[in-house]
């Protein structure tokens, strides 16, 4: 039956043999080169430290990272349907769940690649323009590698949830446009949702996933929205994550592939 690694290899080939992927990665790299450069030009008196530059760059460019990962995730299943290749893909001696899993793994690998690219480029370029040493402080914590790592981790959790949502929408609706649109809408409208459904006012609102996707709030305070804890937030995220994947796998496994 061949090996499962081959399936992931196939999915990777379908991601990286497209010009689009390389355009997205190039844009990500270029923006991460330009941002520290702009900081350098704007910074007259040498007030910005290395880690400040890296952190500020990341805060801006991580949006791109999420958007590109969402684009790849949304196209992963929906693309096969719009190309019609799904019919050739599903008539091989592999169960549908394994094929979907290989797709999901390839998507997560792409999102990791984007994140690593962002970190490496923004750090590398910042190191050219700014001297080392941690300086300044943010929300009472000194900005340094440890703080940066935690911020990146929180950002990645946010991305990971958004990508899982996009992947599910892609598998359910089989239309990449809808999946991209909906997941990016949720990514940007999170703040508005959080305002509308304030957990201080509605107690049920603390069970919504949007409240918890940005875990970086716990870096400043140990109490989250509506007085919940970090553990609670992680639990809610985990439940929604499993829910997204269960829906994706169930729908993809059961539904007829018709014209």
């Amino acid at each position: 039956m061949g090996s499962f690694i081959h399936l992931v290899q196939n999915e990777n080939m379908k991601i990286y043999r497209r010009a689009r992927t390389w355009i997205m990665l190039s844009i990500l790299a270029i923006v991460n080169i330009l941002m520290p450069l702009l900081f350098h030009l704007a910074d007259g008196g040498g007030n910005i430290s290395l880690w400040e530059s890296v952190l500020q760059t990341g805060a801006f460019t991580f949006f791109l990272c999420t958007i590109f990962s969402v684009v790849v995730a949304s196209d992963s299943v929906a693309g096969e349907f719009s190309w019609g290749t799904i019919k050739l893909l599903l008539i091989r001696p592999w169960s549908r769940s394994k094929i979907l899993l290989s797709k999901y793994i390839a998507v997560v690998l792409f999102s990791l690649l984007c994140t690593v690219l962002l970190i490496v480029v923004s750090y590398g370029v910042s190191a050219i323009f700014f001297s080392g040493g941690a300086g300044g402080s943010l929300m009472g914590e000194r900005i340094g590698p440890r703080h940066y790592f935690l911020i990146m981790l929180c950002d990645y959790v946010d991305l990971f949830m958004t990508v899982a949502l996009a992947f599910m929408l892609s598998a359910v609706f089989r239309a990449s446009g809808l999946a991209i649109g909906l997941s990016l809408f949720i990514m940007f409208a999170k703040g508005i949702f959080n305002m509308l459904f304030n957990p201080e006012r509605y107690s049920w609102a603390k069970f919504l996933p949007f409240m918890h996707m940005d875990l970086s709030q716990y870096l400043a305070s140990s109490v989250g929205p509506g007085g919940v804890t970090l553990g609670f937030s992680i639990l809610i995220l985990a439940i929604y994550y499993v829910l997204f994947l269960v829906i994706a796998w169930t729908v993809f496994g059961k539904r007829d592939v018709a014209a």
Partner: protein, 325 residues
Amino acid sequence: MMGICKANMLQWGQTWAEGVIEMQQEPVVRLEGVTKKVSSKTLVEDVTLDIPPGQVFGFLGPNGAGKTTTIRMMVGLTKITKGDIKICGYSIKDHFEQAIVHVGAIVENPEMYKFLTGYENLRHFARMMSGITEERIQEVVQLVGLSNRIQDPVRTYSLGMRQRLGVAQAILHRPKLLILDEPTNGLDPQGIRELRDYLRRLCREEGTTVFVSSHLLSEMELMCDAVAIIQNGRLIDVRTLAGVEGAQETTVETAFALDRPEQAQELLGGGTIRDGLLIVRLDRNGIADTNARLVQSGFKVYGIQKITRSLEDQFLEMTGSDQIG
């Protein structure tokens, strides 16, 4: 299980009794009361059909008759509402992976990854099966005649070339059953001819059973050993086609072109006259005897012709002019 299937392949050349398919072997595909319902509409109703090994088997029906739906069920793209389909003895429902290994297929158009080259497309599908070597890929490329263009992106391919690539991906793993849905769609006459010759060769040389659907009757007549005819989701007939040895025992309408047909009719004591031709129902020997009698009685026989109704005539006769339901 694979052993059974192989054994069947070896003795593929068998005789068919006229009109009725005699089952002496384990069929490659067995459809058992297959029904497909989508909400309240019945797309395919209670289709029971055995496809014997080593044949080019046609699946004929007007547009919307349920051909593609049936094929989708055969390859597991669509769930079967009722009944079961067995391929080489394995149920496509319960043992999907064991059943589908024996199948190569193109469902509808041969859609490929356009941003990949032809070779990368084949590599992609080869990775999903075990035991497909680099040599096998090259061999298949050669076979479908794409050697010169295989390293080009598929988006630069013509429809005919994509059709060839489609066949290539379907036969990579030497399947026992090759399913082609409307394979001649969009092909030029040259391409159709090549495909036809190729399928016949595959059937003859590798013992592959080919299941091919079409609404083109003339195509089927040239390509298939037997056809199943489907209309409005129901199987209405299964029959063997021309070239069957059993045919010589049957009587066919025979037209005699001769001078004085009315007197010839009197002499023979039967037959009808149509367009100045005398038409009599005769078997093989009957034709020779009748001819001798006519000549001995001084008639001038200019020509003798069997009136074989084409599949098209039979098809229209059977399906009538029903609306797509």
